[in-house]
Symmetry: C2
Subunit: 231 residues, 2 copies
DNA sequence: GTGGATCGTTGTGCTGCCGCAACATCGGAG
DNA sequence: CTCCGATGTTGCGGCAGCACAACGATCCAC
């Protein structure tokens, strides 16, 4: 296995305050993992044994209801820790982490969590900051689901994806991971039919441009308008 | 000001592993506060300056949308820490904390957070556990809002209140804080009209019994049935 | 007691969104 | 090349729940 380079981690928030030798130690303790698209990294209810850092690719955090409905709680972008149930005293994962595309991640056994937080100053603070941000994001989703119409929710979801994974291409900004209408409906609590209709409409209006499993936003500002109150 | 007794804290999770002298120190650093019903303890967007422990009463964590809609994210019961933005690296409160009834709380300035976590073993772990639980609860709410019908959501909300604040009285279990139809609609993302209709129906069916600002569940098992899938 | 604010109930009409259904298109496996 | 599963589109009917509206009940301040 080829050695991982320290520069991999030095730009990432949880590690940015650490010295090179410290990063070296952390890297040496990690197990690199490759996952193909559409496979679970860990599953809801499974015992929490490891925590992860996503190096490349995108992860969907998914929950499945007894009734079989799927809800996508959030997306993980490269550079973020995930599966950090250990930090919150959990013994089982609260949700399933599914790869959206091909992913590369580092994994550490849970027992290292404690020593990381003790040994590396700033590590705990930085990761709890991430937890705080994710909580804020979930909070936003709740407000969104509780108060907004479907059209606004879908617009919000797409804007969020654009912000998190957007790539500038000519003619607009493209969402950086493969995404289906079904996926979007799972994010917004609606049906793929309604999403399809909305996107068709927006495409007619020149706001988005979409192909199979790909969406490009051509007029972000107009999408922002749609995401707000109907007024 | 009369001295607070150590037994106040000794049963509460974040402090349960501490010795009496340690609890004494913590208590001596605290400012006790009394709030009447319906007032904000802190407001969304305000700078995070203190964190709190609720001794008595109930707190609603509320978010208000630009459009004026209110959403109640969660309730805080006695014995729980709240306003712990400091632990998550936040500089402003993400939501407003509103008293639901008369409340008694202890407050500490933010700068003590760090020394608490350093000095008192188990304090950080226990509080992050609470964070984890709250996150799980929010996650549940998202799934609920995204997949369930209004009737099921309202049933869920009431069951949650019963679990968190329920008091056994003859004829059923009473929700331990004053609550209006409007409050429930703010928790479930619906209108007070719909909640009123549902409760009227349930009262006819003998599932609940309600007065002004008070709800008593007389047949919890039937409510559980309603909260599940329509099947 | 009186007035006003808060809280609750109930009826009516409308509509946004879902459920169902049928079909088009794409891409990979063999 | 063919078949099949995954994905996307579109039409249509129905209904859950919202908006609007009007009224009743309860509590508090003065």
């Amino acid at each position: 296995m080829k050695k991982l380079d320290e520069s991999l981690l030095s730009d990432m928030p949880p590690f940015s305050k650490l010295s090179r030798p410290q990063i070296r130690e952390i890297l040496d303790a990690a197990t690199p993992q490759r996952y193909e698209a559409g496979v679970p990294v860990f599953s809801e209810g499974a015992p929490v044994e490891r925590f992860f850092l996503l190096l490349d690719g995108h992860i969907r955090v998914v929950r499945t209801t007894p009734g079989g409905d799927q809800v996508i709680a959030l997306h993980i972008a490269p550079g973020q820790l995930f599966g950090i149930g250990a930090a919150l005293g959990r013994t089982t994962y609260p949700a399933t982490a599914m790869t959206a595309d091909e992913c590369l991640a580092l994994a550490w056994p849970n027992r290292l969590w404690l020593s990381f937080t003790e040994r590396y100053d700033g590590f705990a603070t930085e990761t709890y900051k991430v937890v705080g941000e994710r909580m804020g994001e979930m909070h936003n989703r709740i407000v969104e689901l509780a108060t907004q119409q479907v059209e606004q929710r879908v617009a919000c979801a797409i804007l969020r994806l654009v912000n998190q994974t957007g790539r500038k291409v000519d003619g607009g900004i493209e969402i950086g991971l493969p995404i289906t209408r079904q996926n979007i409906s799972d994010m917004t609590g609606t049906t793929l039919h309604t999403v399809s209709r909305l996107l068709s409409g927006w495409e007619r209006d020149g706001i988005v441009q979409s192909e199979r499993r790909k969406i490009t936003v051509t007029a972000p500002h107009r999408l922002v308008l749609l995401s707000g109150p109907a007024a």
